[in-house]
């Protein structure tokens, strides 16, 4: 069974249709890159998969391990193993990263009928992951993302990805706002999480990111549809010729 199946998805935002019948199949272990110009609907797709309010699905479906994802609340999707790394992670003043991560992990475990993780065990786990991502301990004591640089925010997203061990990770414009060094650290973090069971969907505007996270498949989106799919060489082709050739195809 496929991990994630998006079938003929149609989505509206305030009366305007953004996705006009998008399909995508993701199997365990695969890394898919979704590329496309601004306004092609890439972020809308990631938001709808994660369950962000404000989008109206007017047609099609999204199945996760065969279950109807659209019927689930965002927190249920997270507990099932869907993870969205945000393009712009929010700042949450007054809620420490520690507390937030601990509460979120336990909420997910509770939803899956697993025992809650104790504070010492949690501490150990977070420390290990933080260390591997070069995240200093004192960052974890601060409010979630408060005063973090762009790179730190993205690393915090990957920290959460590592902690929650999701089945499918959607990375929404992970490279935006990152310099080359920050990008490399973030990409290394993502690559470390690649596994035969886990799938990644990397949404990006630029080919640059795909030098660091090598995809198995590349899909080009334009005007709310996937207009071309291929192997990683498609990304290079795009780098050469740009998106203009696909505007007409849509």
């Amino acid at each position: 069974m496929s991990l994630l199946e998006v079938k003929d998805l149609q989505v509206r935002v305030e009366e305007r249709e953004i996705l006009h019948g998008l399909s995508l199949t993701v199997n365990p272990g695969e890394v898919h890159a979704i590329m496309g110009p601004n306004g092609s609907g890439k972020s809308t797709l990631s938001h709808v998969i994660a369950g962000k309010p404000g989008y109206e699905v007017t047609g099609g479906q999204i199945l996760f391990k065969g279950e109807d994802l659209l019927e689930m609340a965002p927190n249920e999707r997270a507990a099932k193993g869907v993870f969205l790394a945000f393009q712009y992670p929010v700042e949450i003043p007054g809620v420490t990263t520690w507390n937030f991560l601990h509460a979120a992990l336990n909420a997910q475990r509770k939803a899956r009928g697993e025992d809650e993780i104790s504070s010492p065990a949690f501490l150990k786990k977070v420390r290990e992951v933080a260390k591997s991502l070069n995240i200093p301990q004192d960052m974890l004591k601060r409010g979630v993302n408060v005063g973090f640089s762009g790179g730190e925010k993205k690393r915090n997203e990957i920290l959460q990805m590592a902690l929650f061990e999701p089945a499918v990770c959607i990375l929404d414009e992970m490279d935006s706002g990152l310099d080359i060094d920050a990008l490399r650290i973030a990409a290394d973090g993502v690559n470390a999480l690649r596994s035969p069971e886990r799938a990644m969907v990397v949404i990006t505007h630029y080919q640059r990111l795909l030098n660091y996270i090598l995809p198995d498949f590349v899909h080009v989106m334009s005007k709310g549809r996937v207009v071309k799919s291929g192997g990683k060489e498609l990304a290079l082709e795009l780098e050469e010729s740009g998106y203009a050739q696909f505007e007409d195809a849509a």
């Binding site: 309010p53 965002p74 997270a78 909420a107």
Partner: protein, 440 residues
Amino acid sequence: MNVVAKTETGRALGDAFAVARDRLPGKGKIADQRRQAFEAYERSGLPHRRIEDWKYTDLRALMREVLPLAPAPDAAALGRAAAAIKLRAIDGVRRLVLVDGAFAPDLSDLGNLDKGLSIRPLREVLDAGEDALSAQAFASDTSNPMIALNGAMATDGVVIDVANGTVLAQPLHIVHVASGATPAAMFTRSLLRLGRDTGVTLVESYLAGEGAKAYQTHDGLIVAIGDNARLDHVRLVEDSVDAFNISSATVTLGAHAQFNTFGLTSGGHVSRYQLTVTCAGEGSNVETNGVNLINGKQHADTTLFMDHAVPHCASREIFRAVVDDRAHSVFQGRIIVRPDAQKTDAKMMTRALLLSDDAEADNKPELEIFADDVTCGHGATTGALDESLLFYMRARGLPEKEAQALLIQAFVGEAIETIASDALREVAIATAQRWLQARA
């Protein structure tokens, strides 16, 4: 002559005073003061929305009946009170208990008083005819009708004296409990006098015994903080959701004195807390902070009057309201800087969080500045929880109510953090968490 049309409630109160006056403790001068206070109250009657200070808390509309004075608690009442106190016990404090408006010595810790600390029931002071002390306990602003009414009717309370140079390690905890015997009104008044160079922590809490529902608490606290003295004050209102709590505190600070007060209201059907703080000595410092956590049809009003009468004083107010369902939160904060009070530094920030479309929060900050060399400011905001934060948290697995709870805790945290004592800060956090758990 100012003729005021009276409501049924207003008349009933007049009758209550007429019936009770001969049984109220204190003769001679005190009886005169009571009569004057009652006359002052009668001139306006129950305050209503056309009186500016009561615009948002119209007692004529909200307080439909005045309940009879509570009888002295019997053994069963004391038993229910003891059970209620046990549920909300705070470790390490010296507990002073008022049950149905009467001091309960058997539930109070009066043994091993620290040197320099004196604690007496108000009734005892009144019965002993100690005019000077009684007069101070009853000295109050008779221009405020509800404070005047409290002065007219008060039957008991606690009179606490802390001698010069005494620093109490153990917090004092005045617990007001409604035993639930019968729906009744209680009128209490307490006096706290801190001498020079003293340090005291006072906790006040308002609780309901099992079965206590529609009772009315009228409390008054008069505090004098001496030069170089410090009072830390935490006030927790956890009355029954059918109860009224109309309370006031009148606090005067000497030179280089400090007053740090925090109030949390999560209980009560209608509550109004009128806090008047006067900086009467130079170099004094005041922090008045508070949180309302209310839902259902609760109405909670905190009205602060901060009076900078002398130069070189500072005051800070941080107030947070979290309002759910059809509840109504009111914060009125008036800062007055008198002509002589140069170099005053006064700031007030109030923020309200509305959790439902029917919730209401009224914030009224007012500054009246008559001195020219001062730093004063205020701000007020009202809003809902940030949807983008909620989505982020839910996308990480937190159910909506849990995500809301974390954001609400963060929102009130800034005010709760101002509590100096670690133990009491934990008590306030636990009280807030109880409220959050109850709505989950």
